[in-house]
Symmetry: C2
Subunit: 383 residues, 2 copies
């Protein structure tokens, strides 16, 4: 009897230890060699059924041999070239109308990420639910896939709008003073698909419930970072990922952005205030959207960079001769006086084109500790 019980306890311990190992493996953390954390953004794969799904908007000579397989190949090449620590899929991962089976399409679309053994996260666009699964169904399937850190929704808020609102913490380097603190915060939000309000035409938007969750999460993260052991004087920087651009993406002209704007900004037709909410929170330094495939710029407004990734997928509208592309973001840690690793020092970005050499373009610094910027004084209002 005693032997049996010992056996049971042993098995439980083995199970718990495996679970712990899995959690450790999926915990995001800066890399000790050069103090970097590298994120690959894949926007608008528009995956269909694989090799039978043709490409859109490629040169005539590319057409005969072009399919979803080109999208898959591009991911594999990007992973090989950039060795990211996290891959983020920012919606329209599958193009539902042309995917016979949502599960099969997603399994094929995310396969290169899964087999790379790199953690990955995904959010929804406006086309993911157009096949055989609802938005909830799509997100639930994603959450159950291998190596993903995607989550359905935060457990601490009831009735949140959308599916796929969550945050991920990126901890400091193993063994450093910040090993148990999140030094880079990633926010993922569901920007919806279409307006369900008859008097508001067009695309969806980030709702008050989601903003409230974001605000609360940001506050909590700041508190932990700034008030406990190894307290910092300013919050850890944050990055936000969602599919549909904000109306504020339309604030730029060619004089104040880096990259291209070749089509309109297809944001919601109304402003739901998320930009304001992020400015108030103060920690988000850059936002990364997809949705508009032939826009790929970053512009800075009130100390927040508003970036597109540019279209990645081949079964998606694009521009023949204008390469499909992906956006990289690399956060780097500062060296402490004692030679250890400290907090995040800078966040850089660039894009890679799907050409022969995966050409790097538009490298820019999005944020650095010293450039946090002079603050304006509060003006006195009218009476």
């Amino acid at each position: 009897m005693e032997t049996r019980n010992s056996m049971k306890i042993f098995l439980i311990l083995v199970f718990l230890s495996s679970l712990l190992q899995l959690c450790q493996a999926l915990k995001l953390r800066f890399e000790g060699k050069n103090g970097e954390f590298r994120i690959l953004q894949v926007a608008d794969m528009h995956y269909g059924d694989g090799k039978t799904t043709p490409c859109e908007d490629v040169l005539p000579e590319q057409m005969p041999t072009c399919s979803d397989v080109n999208t898959t190949d591009f991911i594999i090449r990007m992973i090989h070239a950039e060795k990211p620590h996290l891959i983020v899929f920012t919606g329209d991962n599958i193009f539902g109308f042309d995917a016979k089976d949502a599960v099969k399409s997603m399994n094929a679309a995310f396969a290169p990420a899964i087999s790379s053994n790199i953690p990955w996260a995904a959010i929804l666009g406006n086309h993911d639910q157009e096949s055989t699964l609802s938005r909830e169904g799509v997100m639930k399937h994603i959450v159950g896939m291998k190596n993903t850190l995607s989550q359905l929704n935060p457990p601490d808020i009831l009735d949140i709008d959308g599916f796929g609102n969550y945050n991920l913490e990126v901890h400091g380097i193993e063994g450093s003073k910040l090993a148990n603190k999140s030094v880079l915060n990633l926010y993922f939000l569901d920007s919806g698909d279409y307006s369900t309000v008859p008097s508001i035409p067009g695309y969806g938007w980030i709702k008050p419930s989601q903003q409230f969750w974001f605000q609360r999460t940001s506050k909590k993260l700041k508190k932990t970072y700034m008030h406990n052991s190894n307290a910092k004087t300013s919050p850890a920087p944050g990055l936000a990922y969602f599919h549909i651009p904000l109306p504020e993406y339309a604030s730029f002209d060619s004089s104040n952005f880096t990259g291209g704007r070749q089509e309109g900004i297809s944001s919601a037709s109304i402003n739901s205030g998320f930009f304001t909410t992020m400015v108030e929170a103060g920690d988000v330094k850059a936002v990364f959207a997809g949705h508009d495939h032939i826009n790929d710029f970053c512009g800075k407004l009130m100390d927040i960079n508003l970036c597109y990734a540019g279209g990645f997928g081949y079964h998606a509208y694009g521009k023949a001769g204008w390469s499909r592309r992906a956006r990289m973001v690399v956060a780097s840690l500062e060296k402490t006086e004692k030679g250890g690793w400290g907090a995040v020092k800078s966040i850089k970005t660039w894009k890679r084109l799907d050409d022969e050499h995966l050409t790097t373009i538009h490298t820019q610094v999005l944020w650095s500790k010293s450039s946090a910027g002079a603050r304006r004084k509060k003006p006195i209002g009218h009476q």
Copy 2:
């Protein structure tokens, strides 16, 4: 011993019965005689210390005898003329800088409402906290005053921004089928004072936490109204009161509003999305702000009326020769086929000037059951 216990029980019963009477008296309900509910809005009293506090921007001949007492007299005359069922004070109730003692100033400012025995509600502006009490202190004092229905904050949401976010239900006529349902919903929100975000200059705004509460409350009210006994097919209309106008108040030109616009729209310098949140909620038919004393228009945008009351108080900037004014809102019930009272049929508004005859101007219908308007179809977005 038994007599003593009986005495105790009797006293407890008397106390409970008085409490019940008080609750009944403070419960808002449509009036049985003509099926109306009448709301007087008093915007920007800017009360100081009473008769020693001089007026601003009145004609030279008015100056020598003009003080806060003129504001008080105007309230008394309005109550007498309009016989409101509720008085709403929409902030800058006192002008903190010129009030030696916030409590004394508030006691004097609200005195006419209190002695009228009419229920009243107040919210904060951007000047109420500039005397001897904080915003929280001011709102707490208001909540404890006689005959007020003001509340500090909703009990069901933690960490809500501001002080004075609450809703009031106006029930159907006693004895009618809708006697126990709210047929008109009133929302009160704290629109803040000034931005606390260094990169955003200017006034405060309604935050995600408040919008989340509003959204949830609206949903709950709709559910009760539309799904329980005597279910209705459309939600009960709602009215929202807060101090600082929304950026959307700047959407109108003289061709599409009623009233005057004699100064800029002093909203927050950014858009925090509350207009979108109200459009999505669908029940709010009109919003009533103060803050800009010499704007007094109502304009309709996406089926929501955005209204100013126009300045009420004499110790506030204004325009000499342009009368101080107040806004009335009257909701009327429909008659059922059997001769009883039904749901709200229409909501009208007008203003009264503080002249010899309390002249009525700009009477208009804000909403009526039949004018709910044709809905646009959802367009198809880009790919």
